[in-house]
Symmetry: C2
C-alpha cells in the first residue's frame, strides 16, 4: 500500500468546506480509485471561529496559506482563497518550488500567472491542476488536455459565465430589459453588486484564454482576447433572433484562422438548433470542433460549491494516482505568444439592427451601402411599430430594419454602417451582433 | 528525452487507417504533449494488398495480431479488428500478459471480457484503455474514470446508439413508420443489413454495462441489463410525446436505487427541454447525475472513423505520458456483481397509449383500474380520429386514449393494464413507454 496523499487546503469558504466534506464522504471510493488514501491534514482560513458545516477534527490548523504550502508533511497544496495576487500567488509559488503539487480553482490567477506557474511546476516536478477554474465540474480542462490529446482543434467556444446566460435567458423568456434582469440576478445572488466583471465579459475572457492555451498551445494571455459584454443587448434583438432562427448567447470563441488564433468574447447569434443554443439559465457549455470530427459539446454547472469541489477532488485524485500532466498540455517553453485578434479582419455573418428614419428610400440606401462593401444579405426584416403604421399623428416614426448578412469581414460591415450613418437615413447607433455557425 | 512509444496496430479498416494517419499528422503535438514521440512500428490486417488511404512505408507488416501482441519491440498493442472472440481476444490477452498496454475500440469484447482483461492488466502493470468503445470521441470513459473520480454518481444515462437515434429523429420529423425509417437508415449506411443488434437495444446495453461499471464500481455484465428496442414505437407515440412536452429516445440508464444498481435500455420519454432531448440524428450523448450537483451532459459523434481514431490516439497518448489508470477505475477484485434489474420494481412515470373500444364508460373503467393500483394520472388525452367523430358509418371506431402517470411502480402499471384488458374495453396491445425525468 502506497502512503496516503496528504492534502493541505488554504481557504475554507463554500468550496473549501465542500472539498473537506467530499474527501471524507468519498474516502473509500477515492482509495480504491487512487490505490492510496487521500487525507486532509492541514487547513487555513481567515477565521478559525466561523461556523462551517464540516467536521475539521483531526485536521491541523495552519497559521496561513504559506505555512501549508511549505509544510513538509503536505504533498498537495489546494488553493481556494481566490484573488489574483498574494497571499494566494506566493503560496502557490512556494508550494511548487518545494516540489509539491498544486490544485486551484482560481481562474483569475491562472489567466494572469498561468504560464509562469506552469514553468515552476515543470521545473520542480509537481502538478498544477485547475479543472475547477473553467466550467467547475464540467471536465473541459481534462478533455482538451488529455481526451483530445491527439486531435487537432479548429475551434473551441462556449458559454462560460452563468450570470450572463441567466440574464439573457430571462430577457428572452420574459421580454425584459438587461437592467431589469441584472437587478433580479443580483437579488438572487447570481450577480455581484459590481457586475462589470461578469456582464462586461472579463470573466469569460479569462476562462477563454485558458481554454485557448489548452486547445492551441498558446501562452495564456487575457489581453489577447477581444471583449464585448452584453449590456447593449435589447429585448428586440432577442425577439428578432428568435424569428430568424437564432438565439443570443455571450460566447467566448477561440478559433484557428489563417492569420493565427483569434480569441474573442461577445454577444453572439447561434443557430437555435445548435447544442449551445439549448443551454439556459446559469448552465455553462463548451463546444470543441476537432479536425475532421463533428462537434463535441460538454454541458453542466459552471459554478457552485459542490460542482467546484467535484472538480477539485478529481484534480487531487489524479495527483494521488501519480499523474503529472503538463499544466497546459505542452511544455511552457513551446507555448506560442498571441496578439489581440484584429477584429476588423474577423470574418463571419452579422446581425444588424438599424432604426430607419423613414422607409421611403432608406432600404435602398442601406442596400446600396452594403453592396458597395460586397456584403450579401441573407435576410431582411422591417418591423412596423404600432401595428404596421410607420407614422404617429402624421409624424413618421423610426422603423427598425433587421438584416442578416452572409459571411463578410467586420471591416466591410463597419465601413458600410459608417456610410449609412453619413447618409442620415438612420437614427441612433446601429446594433451589430456577430453570428457563429455551428 | 524518453524513448519513443512503439505502437503496433492490428486491424487496418477505416479506424485503423485513420489512427495511423492521425499519429503521423499530429506527431509534433503528440511529442510535445507526451514528452516523447509516438511511433507506429507494426501493423497487421487481413489483406496487405488492399488499397488504403494512408502511408504505411517504414512500418513493419506483422504476420497477424498475435505476432504484434507478443513482439518485444512493441510497447502498446492497439486492437481494431473487432469481434468478441479470437483472434482479437487472445491477442489482447497475450499483450497484457507480456506487460504491454492495450488500446481497443471493441465494445463487445470489453462488455463480455472486460473484467477478466482488466485483471490481467492490473496483474502485469499494463493499461487497458477503451475510450473509443463508448461514444467514440466523446470523452465519457475518462470523465467517469477520472473527471468525476471524487464524486458519487446517482445516475448515468444516454443516447448510445446512433442508428436508433437517427430512426427516431426521422420518425418524429417526418411522421414516418419505424419500418420506413429503418429502410432509409440501411440505404444510407446508418443501419446494418441485420439491424437487430442496434434497433433491439443490444449495442446500447453493451455500452451501458461499461458505463455502469465505471460509474458504480460494478462488474461489467451485459446480462444484468434489461433490454427493449425501438421497433414498437409508432409515429403516434412521437406525436403524443410532442404534445405532452416530451421526446422519445432510446436510452441506456444505470441508476442507483435502494435495492441496487438498475441497468436498463428501452425507449424513453424525456422532457423536451432536457439536454438529452435536443440530441438528434446519429449524435450520441451521455448525462451524468453526480451527488449534489446539476447534471453534466457530454454530446458528440458516437461513431465514425475520425471520431473513433481521435479517442484511440488519446488513449495511446495517456499511455505515452505514463498514465496507467485502472481499466474500470477500481481494482477488479473490488467490483461488485450485479443482477438483472427486476423491472416490476422499477419506479417512475409512465406514458400509456390504449385503443378504447368506445369512449362511453371506457375512460371511467381505465381510471378505476389505475386507481385500484394507486396510480395517479398527470394528464389524459383522448384523440378522436376523423376530426372528432368516434364513429364511421354508424359503427363506433377505437379511440386512442393517452395517459401520463405520476411516479408509480411498473408492477402497478402491469396489473392495472391486465385488469383493463380483462374488462374488454380496449383493443390491441397497450403501448407503454417509461418516462425518465431530468
Amino acid at each position: 500500500m502506497v502512503a496516503p496523499l496528504r492534502v493541505g487546503i488554504a481557504g475554507l469558504g463554500t468550496v473549501g468546506a465542500e472539498v473537506v466534506g467530499l474527501i471524507e464522504r468519498q474516502k473509500r471510493t477515492l482509495s480504491l480509485r487512487c490505490g492510496r488514501s487521500v487525507r486532509v491534514v492541514a487547513v487555513s482560513a481567515r477565521s478559525k471561529a466561523k461556523k462551517r458545516n464540516v467536521d475539521l477534527s483531526g485536521i491541523a490548523w495552519a497559521k496561513n496559506a504559506l505555512a501549508i504550502a511549505t509544510d513538509p508533511k503536505v504533498d498537495v497544496f489546494v488553493e481556494l482563497m481566490g484573488g489574483v495576487g498574494d497571499p494566494a500567488l506566493s503560496a502557490i509559488e512556494a508550494a511548487l518550488r518545494s516540489g509539491k503539487s498544486v490544485v486551484t480553482a482560481n481562474k483569475a490567477l491562472i489567466a494572469k500567472h498561468g504560464s509562469r506557474l506552469a514553468m515552476l511546476a515543470e521545473k520542480h516536478g509537481g502538478a498544477l491542476n485547475y479543472e475547477a477554474a473553467v466550467g467547475a465540474a464540467i471536465p473541459i480542462v481534462k478533455t482538451l488536455r488529455e481526451g483530445l490529446a491527439g486531435t487537432g482543434i479548429d475551434r473551441v467556444y462556449g458559454i462560460l459565465n452563468g450570470t450572463c446566460n441567466y440574464i439573457l435567458t430571462r430577457m428572452e423568456q420574459e421580454g425584459l430589459s438587461f437592467a431589469e434582469c441584472l437587478k433580479d440576478a443580483q437579488r438572487l445572488g447570481y450577480a455581484e453588486a459590481n457586475p462589470s466583471f461578469d456582464v462586461d465579459g472579463h470573466d469569460t475572457a479569462q476562462k477563454l484564454a485558458i481554454l485557448a492555451s489548452l486547445a492551441f498551445g498558446t501562452k495564456v494571455n487575457q489581453s489577447a482576447v477581444y471583449v464585448e459584454g452584453i449590456s447593449s443587448i435589447a429585448p428586440e434583438d432577442l425577439r428578432a433572433a428568435q424569428e430568424l432562427g437564432y438565439r443570443v448567447k455571450l460566447l467566448g470563441v477561440a478559433v484557428k484562422t489563417e492569420t493565427g488564433i483569434e480569441q474573442r468574447v461577445h454577444p453572439t447569434m447561434v443557430p437555435r438548433i445548435s447544442s449551445i443554443a439549448q443551454v439556459m439559465d446559469v448552465t455553462n457549455a463548451v463546444t470543441i470542433d476537432g479536425e475532421g470530427i463533428p462537434p463535441i459539446t460538454l454541458v453542466g454547472p459552471g459554478a457552485g460549491g459542490a460542482a467546484t469541489a467535484s472538480a477539485v477532488v478529481a484534480d487531487i485524485a489524479d495527483i494521488a494516482r501519480g499523474v503529472r500532466a503538463l499544466p497546459f498540455g505542452r511544455p511552457v517553453a513551446k507555448l506560442k505568444a498571441t496578439a489581440k485578434a484584429p477584429m476588423r479582419r474577423h470574418e463571419g455573418g452579422y446581425y444588424i439592427r438599424l432604426m430607419a428614419r423613414d422607409l421611403t428610400g432608406t432600404a435602398a440606401t442601406i442596400a446600396k451601402r452594403l453592396a458597395e462593401q460586397k456584403i450579401s444579405i441573407e435576410s431582411i426584416v422591417q418591423r412596423h411599430p404600432n401595428g404596421g403604421a410607420a407614422s404617429v399623428n402624421g409624424k413618421s416614426q423610426p422603423v427598425p430594419v433587421i438584416l442578416i448578412t452572409y459571411a463578410t469581414t467586420e471591416d466591410a460591415v463597419r465601413r458600410a454602417l459608417q456610410a449609412v450613418k453619413q447618409d442620415r437615413v438612420i437614427t441612433g447607433r446601429p446594433q451589430v451582433i456577430r453570428i457563429e455557425k455551428n
